[in-house]
Symmetry: C2
Subunit: 363 residues, 2 copies
């Protein structure tokens, strides 16, 4: 944006001139790259997803020209069934990033600041700036864990990623209940993008707490990052706020293909469970191998690990991996600039990473 | 939302408690209904669209699990080529509703109010409330035309739908140039959702005016309402503001199916032109028939008409059509509560409307 003159800037809304947008993980268009940088699933989605889209296409002359259901009722029903909640407890959006944006607007524009950890999803400060949400950032402890007692101070809302990213560390449900109970007048959002890889979901607490919003995505555990479908689970008085925001922004955020494909994914529980087990098994194997190579790996409940090597600078290591066709995510930020976030691939892909480290970079 | 208690409302952001969301046209799930209420195209999209989605599916194991290109470069390139502009002049979003939302945030959050007509797309006041945009609403004249001189007063931006909705009346490019020239320090947005059905596009003016943003959609003339792809054309210093907003809200708003399908549509210029000609021909025929039945029909450059009948209350007429399986759009609003907005269907569908009126309701 360096080419925009001050004169041209007069057209921008003043508050937009100050924005510092989110920078997503790189999506390189190079062939044969091993992409372990954006926490995508190494496996394809359920074959039923493809069948569902085929069915839309078979009927395409009649349906593509028509708006989708603005309420995406079929999708809400499929999610409700899979999550064992009533459909009135479900909100859907164009990826969990859009769901989170609506959450910030719906609940967090308050007099008091919202609370979140210093090391967490880097979109939270961006949403906060975008919607004028005040923030108070609370440091994780030296083991990169959330200090539950810190979340018992006056606030305008709380958002916790669980398992946290990029640390991969999960918080137990009892700790989450402690936060919920200490904040009866604030909305507590648990962002569970990675929950299906081994953490406990707070969806089980939704009936009990009228201040809880749980957010999930189909991009990771359902292998549908290409589709853009996220959702939130909460009691109806909170869902209503999200619907009011959504319908003041975009009536039809989820297209017909995405609705059909996501419904098929939620209906195939068996595939979902089998696939998650495979990723978890691969993770455990990779953690063991990296530990053997001298890495310190934080305890992961996600489809990625957060690892550091005392003998080698992390930025350098990332660059050397990249030269060898392997991309991992490096954050040049305080406290975590000696860590790499590495997505769990297939066993073969993980082995390529281990071999490259063992036989080449660290040899 | 009547079931939400004041106590539960404490969780909502105060500004969200006041929102009055947009209400989209009804999407009934009843069979055999003739749906002339949401300005969808009666014809399917280009067959190339289906082929493009088949190609994504053929490769689905490899691609659905991966995030789409956050920049949707392939789509921007296809639009740039079809619109004869450089790719740096193109912004894309999840339907033109999302593009418009980003436009309001990017340009219209100013000290002065934005200007728009009293009768126009009813989402504009909703976006304004959502983003805290001040507004000054200017009445159309008695013939439902925009009074260009009204748009020469101090303002924080201008948005004009062209052709206007629900009036269907187009504004000429010379009038638009007059507005652009009178407002060198404001962004002027021309919302061209219906432009391909007979109005002149202001895209031709983009190189000449550094304050012009043109917004279009694939939902009407490209028969892709089911897909959710909209776009804006403007000079790069304005596109940059839209990208800053978009990347502060949702990095990946357009999924892989939508990108592939929309690209195929923009590449099939021949189908596009032939289809638009068919809709225009059907419109002229329908206007003649309704005029013969005593309707007053405003001059339409869109894929819908705005019509009134002095002998019959419009709300009643809409209700009687509905009883007979034909849905049109009725707005219970000052000045236009004796009009019906009727989408142009196929010749057969339009004939069913005419016959129902002639042989039944008005017989």
């Amino acid at each position: 944006m360096s080419t925009i003159t001050t004169e041209q800037m007069r057209f921008w809304s003043p508050e937009v001139r100050e924005l510092e947008p989110y920078v997503p993980g790189e999506q390189p268009k190079i062939q044969n790259l091993l992409k372990l940088n954006t926490n995508e699933n190494p496996y394809p989605p359920s074959p039923k997803v493809v069948e569902a889209v085929q069915a839309v296409l078979a009927n395409s002359a009649d349906v593509l020209r028509l708006y989708p259901d603005p309420d995406a009722s079929a999708l809400k029903q499929a999610i409700a069934k899979q999550q064992h909640v009533d459909v009135s407890h479900v909100f859907v959006g164009n990826g969990s990033d859009e769901v989170l944006a609506h959450i910030f607007k719906a609940f967090f524009v308050q007099e008091l600041p919202i609370l979140y950890p210093d090391i967490t999803y880097s979109f939270y400060p961006v949403y906060s700036q975008f919607f004028g949400v005040k923030t108070k950032v609370l440091p994780l402890n030296d083991d990169f864990e959330i200090v539950v007692d810190d979340y018992k101070q006056p606030n305008g809302g709380i958002i916790i990623t669980n398992p946290n990213a990029p640390t991969s560390i999960a918080l137990g449900l009892s700790a989450i209940e402690e936060v919920l109970q200490a904040n009866p007048d604030s909305v507590v959002v648990i962002d569970e993008a990675y929950v299906d890889f081994g953490a406990e979901s707070a969806v089980a607490l939704v009936e009990k707490y009228d201040n809880l919003v749980v957010c999930q995505t189909t991009s990771k555990s359902r292998s549908l990052a290409g589709l853009r479908v996220g959702f939130a689970i909460a009691q109806p008085h909170l869902i209503a706020a999200l619907e009011a925001v959504k319908n003041s922004f975009n009536s039809y955020p989820i297209d017909r293909f995405a609705i059909a494909a996501a419904v098929a994914s939620f209906e195939d529980q068996e595939y979902f469970e089998a696939q998650n087990e495979k990723v978890i098994a691969s993770r455990e194997k990779l953690v063991a191998q990296l530990t053997e190579l001298g890495f310190k790996v934080l305890p992961s409940s996600a489809n990625f690990i957060f690892a550091s090597l005392s003998s080698k600078d992390a930025a350098e290591l990332a660059a050397e991996l990249r030269e060898r066709g392997i991309i991992v995510r490096y954050f040049n930020k305080p406290r975590i600039n000696q860590f790499l976030r590495i997505t769990i691939g297939t066993d073969e892909q993980n082995q390529r990473l281990v071999d490259t480290l063992k036989n080449d970079i660290l040899a």
